[in-house]
């Protein structure tokens, strides 16, 4: 019997709460709504970034692009995986993106055929991505993984590198048990002893190394012809309409690469807050990756120059061939497709500021 009055009181309180929430929402919307019209005249550049340490985060954190392009509204959106960036490109929601070579190889192949081009090499995976086995298993080389349980984030560059490492050791994916786990979850599974080995990246990788044996790192796979890269891509339509913006973007990305080489402390200080790490941790992560110099970037080994697309096209094709063998895409396109997929306009002179 006594429940009725309480319920009514509860209801009234709820109404009051709802009214309060509405008022709050109105306040929150107010200033933002007021700010929009003054930007309305400026065209927007939409960039997708990911929280892996690279010059892209230096550019974002220091607002270099905003400085260099004051007549544009710059919109940065954080993504967690290359697959999501691919989807956003297909939807026509992005102009630039920072994305791994494995998803780019998928994006440039059928059935996706995403109209974007590779305009920059942000980094090359070195010791920042590696395959580690738990010490307790006693495994010391990749061949010893036969029949074991290995975790990696499916569809990532680490997944690609793991399959390449297994193949190199004479094993196929069916000789081991592959488990799809994101870095954090793979750490949990590792600590519980649910997996024997993990192929993942920093910072999780450093935690695994504490009680694990490193079997192979992406640096060795790169020298064996299976490099994994983080690339900067630009939508083809955008590059045709605004070549000047692409030039500016390449210049600031080059400036960030130079800073990583010349002043790693400043670079780590900018990257640290973007990846939620301390500057020391960020510096350590930067040290383990491979960051090209301006000369390397435009050499035949990587992007190449205007009219002479470089070896990144071969890398992407070999990644696509690999995905086709794994039945992840129907077939790998010809090399020409990937050469057309490189945006080398004006290289190398355009990078000189």
């Amino acid at each position: 019997m006594s429940t009725r009055p309480t319920r009514l009181r509860g209801f009234r309180r709820l109404v009051a709460l709802a009214a309060g929430a509405l008022a709050l929402a109105a306040c929150a919307v107010g200033p933002a709504g007021g700010g929009a019209p003054q930007d309305a005249g400026k065209p927007t550049i939409r960039l997708a970034y990911q929280a892996f340490p690279s010059g892209d985060l230096v550019v974002k954190h220091n607002r270099w692009l905003e400085e260099a392009l004051p007549n544009y509204t710059i919109k940065w959106t954080k993504f967690d995986s290359g697959a999501d960036i691919n989807t956003a490109f297909i939807a026509g929601q992005l102009d630039f993106g920072a994305i791994g070579s494995s998803p780019v190889a998928r994006g440039l192949s059928g059935p996706l055929n995403i109209p974007y081009q590779v305009a920059f090499v942000l980094d090359v995976a070195g010791d920042n991505e590696a395959l580690v086995a738990r010490k307790a298993t006693g495994i010391t080389d990749v061949a010893g993984l036969r029949g074991k349980r290995i975790a990696t984030a499916f569809a990532s560059t680490a997944h690609y590198s793991l399959l390449a490492a297994l193949q190199q050791a004479g094993l196929s994916a069916s000789d081991v048990q592959l488990v799809d786990l994101q870095p954090q979850a793979s750490l949990a599974a590792w600590e519980r002893g649910d997996v024997d080995a993990v192929y993942t990246w920093l910072p999780t990788l450093d935690q695994l190394r504490k009680d694990g044996t490193q079997l192979i790192a992406s640096r060795q796979l790169a020298t064996a012809g299976k490099p994994t890269l983080d690339l900067g891509v630009v939508s083809t339509a955008f590059a045709q309409a605004h070549p000047d913006v692409v030039d500016t973007w390449r210049k600031v990305e080059t400036r960030a690469l130079t800073q990583i080489h010349d002043d790693p402390q400043a670079a780590s200080a900018a990257i640290a807050p973007e990846i939620g790490a301390t500057p020391e941790e960020a510096a350590n992560q930067l040290k383990q990756g491979v960051y090209l110099t301006e000369q390397e970037l435009t050499s035949a080994e990587w992007l190449g120059t205007d009219g002479a697309p470089g070896n990144v096209a071969q890398n992407l094709q070999s990644a696509a061939q690999f995905l086709a063998d794994q039945k992840q895409i129907p077939a790998a396109p010809a090399l020409a497709t990937f050469q057309k997929g490189l945006y080398t306009k004006g290289l190398p002179n355009v990078l000189a500021s």
């Binding site: 697959a83 691919n86 297909i90 996706l112 569809a155 799809d180 979850a185 649910d194």
Partner: protein, 258 residues
């Protein structure tokens, strides 16, 4: 006749609209693939072809079977505990006051929010998946049972008491039969909610499993396989609900005639 014809016509209209949408070219094929492409994907994941077995080494029915097993395990645990707790909450006032906030708290949580904790505590095999499904099925079953028990007609309870029935007799002979129809609705709801959590439950190490298949295919922007998985989840969900309704009609024929 009409009962069969109307759903069939709606299905046909849907397929025609779909084909038109795909053929219009307004959307990229990754977003709206042709019905024929999805049909081919269905055949691919259901058979062994050029040396590849189904999707990621398992056929469609094997993915579905693993998921159904997990859902069954989770739902049985979740519903059993849920109905018992609901019965207790409905009959004993202080239990209800103690448990209700906890139940509401749990009900408000999206499974994705706590799944990571389950992985840390229970590992990456079956335990966290079944626990997640049980946690998803538990609140609706408990809430529906509580409400159903509380709504048992007072006149009947008082009549039974007047005839000399004890507390346990009242519960067994009056409250439970009166609450059963509503409880069944809660069970159906619980199964539905558990079923809609399968993709979350199979987020980590979900293959074989239909949710794991959908998640993996979407990682590769493989829309046809995603649609096949969604259709499999939806259709099996319809079948399960149909079965539950049949069971309900059999066991609670007095529904609506209280």
């Amino acid at each position: 006749m009409r009962a069969v014809l109307l759903p069939l016509v709606s299905l046909l209209v849907f397929l025609v609209l779909w084909q038109l949408a795909a053929a219009s070219g307004a959307w990229n094929e990754t977003f709206v693939p042709y019905p024929s492409t999805v049909w081919r994907a269905f055949l691919d994941v259901s058979t062994t072809h050029d040396g590849t077995r189904g999707y990621q080494g398992y056929l469609l029915w094997e993915h579905l079977y693993m998921t159904l097993r997990r859902v069954l395990g989770g739902v049985v645990v979740g519903v059993l505990v849920g109905v018992l707790v609901g019965l207790l909450m409905g009959t004993v006032g202080w239990v209800r006051r103690v448990l209700e906030p906890w139940l509401t708290f749990l009900r408000a949580l999206p499974p994705l929010a706590y799944f990571f904790l389950l992985v840390i505590w229970l590992g990456i095999d079956e335990a966290p998946k079944i626990t997640l499904l049980a946690l998803a099925a538990f609140p609706p079953a408990a809430v529906a049972t509580t409400a159903a028990v509380a709504a048992a007609p007072i006149s009947l309870i008082e009549a039974a008491r007047a005839l000399g029935a004890g507390r346990s007799q009242v519960v067994r002979d009056v409250i439970v039969p009166a609450a059963l129809p509503e409880t069944f609705t809660g069970v159906r709801l619980a199964v539905g909610i558990a079923y809609s959590s399968v993709v979350a439950a199979e987020l980590f190490n979900g293959i074989p499993g239909i949710g794991g298949m959908v998640k993996d295919a979407s990682n590769y922007n493989n829309t046809p396989v995603v649609l096949v998985g969604i259709a499999a989840i939806g259709i099996s969900g319809l079948v399960i609900d149909g079965l539950l309704r049949a069971v309900e009609r059999r066991t609670v024929p007095w529904r609506g005639r209280a």
